[in-house]
Symmetry: C2
Subunit: 341 residues, 2 copies
């Protein structure tokens, strides 16, 4: 295949960490990204070049371009972690095939992306493009964190930001495994759709009796694991309302406040603990066989319809600088970038 020498890409303007803490919202991309023509990346040993079909936009992408994620930015590099596309060059037997991938060497918000060839995930032909574009970060996180829920052998588990795509995957997993999902959301109108998906109870954190309702629910359906993407005081209050042996697993930080440990003694006398979950670490610890099995399950779930991808918007790469913030402000569903347009 003849590859062009130049490509369009959303290139990072910032370098390293910003030191700010502004959360996942974004009104304007201009301080952080620019649409520019850059050279198509050279393929090194062990790498694969992918012609991007569709790239996902995750909260971690926004944290990252703002310099507020756990990894430093690299000025001049295309942004975008997750996508689906066709392998067009590199050291891999998957040449010419459709793969999902996590861009480690050159970002996915571009016509071409570069990554580690050993981490490509081949896609079933019947897997939709949106499912394929978003099957790594959220679905794999859901499967990995649900392992913790299963190991805890409790009647229920608690998750916040439950209206997110990841939240919906977790609720479906809970329903299928008979472990009651206790879903925490901010707005009352999020409750009904999550109940329909299988949430045993929905706690609306903005309501005055939210904590009392949670305490009542925890008595009827004792949970062991709290999966937390928010990290606010209400999350800490929920944790301290949970029964003995509860584990608070933080995996994201949608809130900007710092929660206070008002009941530290529960860590002593009730054997509670606070930990974090990072997908990158899980992948390394779980090993390739567990990860491969997870992708078989993920693709089966999407094809069979037990998981669905709610699409809020698909933004052409050429219009992303102007249209992406408005698309991300849509409260339900996932946003994608199409680099072919």
């Amino acid at each position: 295949m003849n590859l062009p020498s130049q490509m369009r890409a959303l290139v990072q303007l910032g370098d390293g960490f910003s030191g700010t803490r502004t959360g996942p919202e974004i009104d304007d991309l201009a301080p952080f990204l620019t649409l520019r023509s850059v050279p198509v990346p050279d393929v090194g040993p062990g790498q694969a070049l992918i012609k991007v079909h569709l790239a996902a936009v995750n909260p971690s992408d926004i944290h990252f371009i703002k310099g507020e994620y756990g990894q430093p930015r690299s000025k001049g590099m295309p942004a975008g972690f997750e996508a689906v596309g066709e392998v067009v060059a590199g050291d891999t037997p998957l040449m010419g095939q459709r793969v999902s991938f996590f861009a480690t060497a050159s970002g996915a918000w571009a016509e071409y992306a570069l990554t580690d060839a050993s981490r490509l995930v081949p896609c079933r032909p019947d897997l939709s493009e949106v499912a394929a574009a978003g099957q790594l970060v959220n679905p794999l996180t859901a499967i990995a964190m649900f392992d913790l829920v299963k190991e805890a052998r409790a009647e229920s588990f608690v998750l916040n930001a439950a209206g997110s795509q990841l939240g919906k995957y977790l609720i479906a997993l809970g329903k299928d495994h008979g472990i009651a999902p206790i879903a925490v959301v901010r707005r009352a109108d999020q409750a009904a759709p999550l109940r329909a998906l299988g949430a045993a109870q929905v706690i609306v954190s903005s309501e005055e009796d939210a904590l009392a309702k949670a305490e009542q629910t925890f008595r009827n359906l004792p949970p062991a694991i709290l999966l937390d993407a928010v990290g606010d005081q209400f999350t800490a209050d929920l944790f301290f309302a949970m029964p003995r042996h509860a584990t608070w697993v933080n995996y994201g930080k949608l809130a900007t406040e710092a929660p206070r440990l008002t009941e530290l003694g529960q860590l002593i006398f009730m054997n509670k603990r606070i930990t974090g979950f990072w997908l990158t670490r899980w992948i390394n610890q779980a090993g390739p066989d567990r990860v491969r099995a997870a992708f078989v399950e993920i693709q089966t779930r999407f094809v069979s319809g037990t998981w669905t991808t709610d699409v809020a918007a698909t933004v052409p790469l050429s219009q992303a600088m102007t249209d992406l913030p408005a698309a991300l402000a849509i409260s339900d569903g996932k946003v994608f970038i199409d680099p072919r347009r």
Copy 2:
């Protein structure tokens, strides 16, 4: 042996939990205890009655009588958890022998105490009375928590309230095992004696550059475990200044403030975690062989002098209501109650 029917005891006035959080200080025992003549407890199956020689006063005793400990008070029962004495009745081959014990059925601040016969710890004849009276709570906690330090295989560990008896035991263990103790204290005058005991560095939390000094120390001697008896914001700040994989182990709450988790993302990206340590749980999990081995080590340490007990005061039971608060206000050393006087 002919046992009397009545005995003198410091009896609890409160019941259950108080709901207050006043910390470990105490100015006046009168709201919580009274010196009274009560019946010598009846010995039930599996129990042993001990004539108390000397009882320890631990911070957990004060938390307990104030209704601020993890276990509920029992109105009318003698207080006091830990002591040494002679077995005078019950279902045990240790009858007539000197034992250390943790009073589970009737408290040790009394002429006689009642406990589970299976948990008696026989004392070597060359073990001093003060060492024997205090060999359970602090020494066993030190041995148990130092297991965590050893398992972490780091160059150093951090402990606060380092001037306490338990802190001194931990510093001696660190020195003997070649794991550098980084000791945190409140007052500058506590630094020199802890350095003499083996502390590699002493951080004085009241000094303005305390955190900067800790960060410098952590770079030279990276720690993995923070053993925390305080639970204040400075402890949280220390934890967030520690390197990747650090674990904050809380085992006490000398501070009344609730620390804020200002760097929650470190739990995700740096694999840090926050847990609690409770001796009662450790004893059940470690099993009788590990506990027996620990007491052999503890008694050897006291007899050989690698551990010493600093005595602040020994208060006669008859004068405890008036004299105990002043004795506890002495900043260095341990306080004992003598029920024979």
